[in-house]
């Protein structure tokens, strides 16, 4: 299987990681975040529902992959790691009341002489449970544990040109799926049918590039549910006069470009008519302000001043660093576009700017994913920004699949 990046790029990522390990005093890094495992090794499979990890030892050239026996072939196929560094635990460790994979992993670490070192763990990752940590601590009494959460994510925040290229492909997929999704909305269409159309185009891809699965499903709250950003679709039919929010991401080789738009089925409500130009003006002012050297907090300030002119405030963050990801999130969990975030922008950082506004009975989302350039920023997608109005009776006959 072809690696998605040159082997030199993986080596460079590993070197940057080791440099951070050294700075933090971490000798052995246990990586359980599937995005970080992929970033450093290329490993790509839906096997993260069982315990697995990549082990980076500061004075060894090759990482170790440790996971389930039936997934080891996948590690050999999708990574640049030598076969002898792929270590598998037997299946009786999976979802067992007696055996825990971390017992096996601790035993391996001990056998290879790493059991008494300073071990970094990703403390707040979905795939490093409280139990996983307990078992490691119990089985490695001579180790010193350090929180190495987001250590690799910090390396990931600045993208390479090849990563940007993959995000550009993801952007084309996102735009195309958004267009097809919006075309399939009319009064009487079922939410699940629109979600199906969006999913089809996200996975089929566009422009000759097949899509990967996004880390979050397409979200499309409608009507009163627009007040809540994370509700998923139902079997309900859209109604004339309703607003629909579509938030999706194109994904290419696990790189995401999210995109959100708000659609009105028929004449928009007064609220939507008022809100949408406030949001787009804010987005434009924010994008115009972005350049290397300013902080994420500065971005929030520009936004805050922009909407304050209209007497508005926003409680939640405006966005976050985005790129490589696995379910349940495409955000990188490092920089957030919010008050007080001191992250200084550098070229090839990438963010999803999603200044959603939610009220008791309605809400609006319009978003842009952008890359910081040498002098400013550029949007990945080029989709019309304003409120999109659909004819409620416009059933698009080309959106049928047998």
């Amino acid at each position: 299987m072809m690696l998605p990046f040159d082997i030199l790029e993986y080596h460079e990522r590993l070197e940057k990681t080791k440099k951070r390990m050294e700075e933090k005093g971490v000798e052995v890094l246990l990586i359980t975040d599937p995005a970080n495992m992929n970033y450093l090794s290329g490993y790509d499979a839906w096997s993260f529902y069982v315990h697995q990890m990549l082990v980076i030892i500061i004075d060894e050239a090759q990482p170790l992959w440790i996971g389930r026996f039936q997934d080891a072939n996948g590690a050999r196929k999708t990574t640049w790691i030598y076969d002898e560094n792929v270590i598998a635990y037997p299946d009786y460790y999976v979802h067992s009341a007696i055996y825990h994979p971390m017992d096996f992993i601790a035993e391996i670490l001990t056998q290879i002489g790493q059991g008494n070192r300073t071990i970094g763990v990703e403390m707040d990752n979905y795939y490093f449970s409280a139990k996983a940590f307990e078992q490691l601590k119990n089985n490695l009494p001579n180790a010193t544990f350090k929180n190495a959460d987001l250590l690799v994510n910090g390396v990931r925040i600045v993208k390479s040109d090849q990563e940007i290229e993959y995000m550009k492909r993801a952007a084309i997929i996102a735009e195309h799926a958004m267009e097809k999704g919006i075309e399939s909305i009319y009064a009487g269409a079922k939410e699940s049918d629109v979600a199906a159309t969006i999913y089809y185009h996200l996975v089929k891809g566009s422009n000759g590039h097949g899509g990967d699965y996004p880390s979050i499903v397409p979200l499309l709250p409608a009507g009163e549910n627009t007040c809540t950003p994370h509700l998923t679709w139902s079997e309900r039919a859209f109604m004339s006069g309703e607003a629909v929010i579509i938030e999706l991401a194109g994904c290419y080789k696990r790189y995401h470009v999210p995109l959100a738009r708000t659609v009105s089925i028929g004449t928009p409500s007064e609220e939507m008519t008022t809100l949408s130009p406030i949001v787009t003006e804010g987005i434009q002012e924010v994008l115009a302000s972005i350049k290397p050297g300013i902080t994420c907090g500065d971005i929030e300030e520009t936004w805050r001043k922009s909407i304050k002119k209209y007497g508005m405030e926003k409680e939640s963050r405006l966005g976050y660093s985005v790129g490589l990801g696995y379910p349940p999130d495409w955000g990188e969990h490092t920089a957030s576009l919010r008050k007080g975030d001191q992250t200084v922008l550098e070229p090839n950082m990438t963010f999803h700017l999603i200044p959603g506004l939610w009220f008791d009975n309605y809400g609006i989302e319009i978003s842009e994913t952008f890359r910081v350039t040498d002098t400013g920023c550029e949007r990945f997608t080029n989709y019309p920004q304003g409120l999109i109005v659909r004819d409620p009776l416009n059933i698009n006959p080309t959106d049928k699949i047998s």
Copy 2:
């Protein structure tokens, strides 16, 4: 929003949970598994990428939902919990280096007088990280913590008639998506195109019922990759003579019915021709043996004897309890169909029997999801079991979407 189950069913689930809490000496149960949150409260949203929980207090009638401010409307809309029991933390707790949601949650527990009780936590759940546990322990020095992993999952293992009805709808969706997926396979079709077609039908649904997103994406390893069950699709084109494994699940209101089949594009290889009747014979013998009162271990024994006739062995488990789920898994993590599992079958337990066989360069998967009945078992789907042979040149013109 309509709850998917009668309020009495939720009360019954809560009572069963409290009974188990009492048996385990747990006074306060912190539920972070999204499937368990849904099971007890109805809560359904893609918000599990931030910390959230349901709190069950043994001597209080209502659970508490605690989560992110922008998700609280969703909790009010999708659950039977009173609005005053929906508690939200501010957005600056999200993915912050300074604030942690568990600090907020600990403070709430202290304020309502629960800080000095015996608190059960789901130690090995994806959504209860090592850090989450550390923060709770630091902030609740007077509490006693107990591992309550799988406590609610244990209640979930026997389904109600309404749950079975939802699984039957999921089964119809699974069969339909399998059929459409297989029809879209030919030599030259891209893996991503076939995955797109399967996804479309899984979400669109069938028989008037819209589909929900499955907890695992459709898996379709082909050719040499059939040796590895959890690789996802690529942009590669299928080739004549290759085998393709399709593993998918229909999902209805978060209830899953998985289904796996193996397809040969053109004349099957000798290995596939030999293996497929061994696997189907084993499945038939296993299904014929199932009835209330036997154990999951007994099922494995039947399988082991069946394939031993042909000199074969299987390292990994044969299957697992299945039903309600959220990414990254549709398995319930309780009973496994494997040697030594003492779980005694009861009517309305539901399992995914997936006796996959994987070798160095090829593999086969044929599966059935079944329900234990009063006297035996019944399959949810009725899809032909043997190896499916596709004409490599058979491009199905009805499988196009504009």
